[in-house]
Chain length 396, copies 2
DNA sequence: CTACTTTTTCCACTCACAGGACAAAGAGCG
DNA sequence: CGCTCTTTGTCCTGTGAGTGGAAAAAGTAG
């Protein structure tokens, strides 16, 4: 099938496309209620969108007491690709234009193998999705990488955990390979956009998303827009000092939050505890697998292992202290906790909440929900689809 | 004189007014170069502005090689009032429409006396400025108060250091008394706007302003706009924990930044040191005045007093650590240090810089200037004038 | 005084858009 | 089934914003 390359010609068309994306199929009359345009103007713009084939007619709507209205919807053949490159695995998903996931693959992988190897894998995963009949091609792709990105160019800059990616023209390269427009962003920002589009942050304009995975990062949304900072490194909270003169960190400092609590730190602590026979549960798992990860700690904690619960609580306290500072500073309307360690669930959340509610002033915490992300591993890929659709559904 | 009450009728007019405000008198042709409107359209809008008397003709411009252009400028009779209410003093200033200060008064005062007493004083200061012939009336006023403000309504909310102001309708009341439009904001946000308009932050879009006065606060500017947070308490960094299990703070916690370093804390520390005879310099000053303030510490430090220098350095270190965290999180393009203690100058700045450059990642600090504010005590009042002019110079 | 520039005004033309009139399509009711 | 009322979609005209060319006005440089 020929891919759609059309773009909305003006702000009205962009507005309509986004309404259809976020609200699904809709009647012309209902659209009219939402956009404050005269019926004539609306009809003209809708007709033009129909001509571009970005939207298609979709039968008749139910009557609202009079003549039935004609439904329209985004072209059901449109396909977006969401790619979430983590430190140790990749998620790739296909969505339709309404950003609903049609197919989703997750595979282990090590970013440190470098961009060429990783993109080979991403492309083969995309091909697999195509082969299963979910898509004949892609109209756009949004990619998340675990490090800072110079956003306009779509190029990673000085990423600590992925040397070899520095300056690699991700956007350019993938756009060539996939044959469609591509946007690149930090993985945490993608997660924030995902939760904003389809998760817990749908109604909030200013919020933070704290992602605790292999590292720790934070997505910042201001007035509904992702804030990326001057050099694209905003939200890099993993290296805020959480413990004075604490553990040495890979960054050269001591006491960084990430050195004390993150997927990696948790695994290290658990291994330590197992080897010192502090926890039979963890020791058994280490014996069985040869190695421990955050998932093991989560499982042990669920089984009631005291050592694991302590590790989680302590980590939650440290994280909560840092978040308390951010809440004082940023005064968000919502804080979302997500990432690989959400399996730690309520123990973690309780520890964080305690610290934040204690450490920030009532005015900032008074009406501040602190919740787990709703979308789990799909937040990133949905965010990717959202990123590229925001780009494509804006005036050319 | 009859006050101007007109407002720009559309975005073009607002744009032109702001250009005249920021760039001073300008010829019609030069304006045309900046606004991307057709000559005819520009002429129409300028004529309408002339009709409203918001702008006036101002003779002929120098020739650029052909016919000389007519200059226009903002009405020179326009007057804005900037009011900066601090914890222990008030600044009131009159500006023209180009936000140049025509007169400035500073008086000691205690906010805790409550809004009624304070506004009585503010009004008498404003009257004094009028009496000196600088203004016949005011076209707008911008007020800064040392605490969180619900911005749209212009009402302080739960301000810790100014009980009695909670919920007081500052905007409403002053608008009545002054007979002109009024906008109210946090004093730190005003300072940020001042430095943005006429100080060090003129060319930066994302920056932080840290004000160290009686307390400590931070102004946040995102994309050129002040960010106020969900409940108006964004930037309230005085109660971020800087020292684990540190000094008790008025807020009920321990180790708040403000408890360890601020005008008040510094005065307390200095008095302590003087009484314990750790510093002859400070003891002498205590003897002479009966009390010590941050100004005394600054003077003693300038005279080479080791104890005072240590106090400043230690405070700078604590503040720097907190700012380092904010820099990692926010990735600003500039950090401005200001407020009453800027007299501490380079000792303070050096300590802060050391901590930030050490405690944040290179990508965030690489090209990050950390500088003292340029405007000193006028930043707040200029910010106030800027606040109200932004409001008045926007489409009605 | 002449040739060339720049600024300003004037005017005709295009385009976006609103809103009314009217036709089409359906619901509800007797 | 016919009648009335409601909603939806189309057509058409009026209005106001805005553009761009032509020409007048006001200079400069020789």
């Amino acid at each position: 099938m020929r891919r759609m390359t059309a773009r909305p010609a003006n702000a009205h068309q962009a507005r309509l496309l986004r309404l259809l994306r976020d609200g699904g199929p809709n009647s012309r009359a209902q659209l009219g209620d939402q956009v404050d345009l005269s019926r004539s103007k609306l009809a003209v713009e809708v007709d033009r969108l129909l001509e571009t084939e970005l939207v298609v007619a979709d039968g008749l709507a139910a009557s609202r007491g009079g003549r039935r209205s004609h439904n329209i919807r985004l072209n059901p053949h449109l396909r977006f690709l969401g790619v979430d490159i983590g430190a140790t695995s990749v998620d790739v998903a296909v969505t339709n234009a309404e950003l609903e996931i049609l197919g989703h693959i997750n595979q282990p992988m090590d970013v440190r193998e470098g961009p060429v190897a990783v993109f080979e894998q991403v492309l083969s995963m995309a091909t697999k999705l195509k082969a299963s009949g979910l898509a004949e091609g892609f109209d756009g792709a949004g990619i998340g990488v675990p490090g800072p990105v110079r956003f306009p160019e779509g190029v990673p800059v000085a990423p600590p955990i992925m040397p070899g990616w520095d300056g690699f023209p991700v956007r350019e390269a993938l756009s060539q390979d996939l044959g469609c427009p591509v946007m690149v962003d930090n993985d945490v920002n993608l997660m924030a956009m995902g939760e904003q589009h389809a998760g817990v942050a749908r109604t909030v304009h200013d919020f933070l998303v704290v992602k605790i995975g292999t590292g720790i990062g934070c997505g910042i949304v201001v007035g509904g827009e992702v804030y990326r900072g001057t050099t694209g490194s905003a939200g890099d909270i993993g290296h805020i000092q959480a413990v004075p003169d604490g553990r040495p960190c890979a960054c050269g400092n001591r006491g960084c939050l990430e050195a004390h609590f993150s997927g990696a730190a948790l695994a290290w602590d658990a291994t330590e505890a197992a080897q010192q026979q502090l926890s039979a549960e963890l020791a058994g798992r280490l014996e069985a697998n040869g190695t421990l990860s955050a998932v093991d700690v989560a499982a042990a904690a669920a089984a009631g292992d005291a050592t694991s619960l302590d590790l989680i609580r302590e980590g939650g306290n440290r994280t909560g202290q840092v978040i308390a500072g951010l809440v004082s500073f940023f005064n968000p309307g919502l804080v979302v906790i997500g990432g690989g360690v959400t399996g730690l669930g309520h123990t973690l959340l309780a520890a964080i909440r305690t610290q934040v509610y204690r450490g920030s002033l009532p005015l900032a915490t008074g009406n501040l929900p602190i919740v787990l992300g709703e979308l789990g591993p799909t937040a990133g890929v949905i965010g990717g689809a959202r990123l590229i659709s925001d780009h494509l559904f804006s005036p050319a």
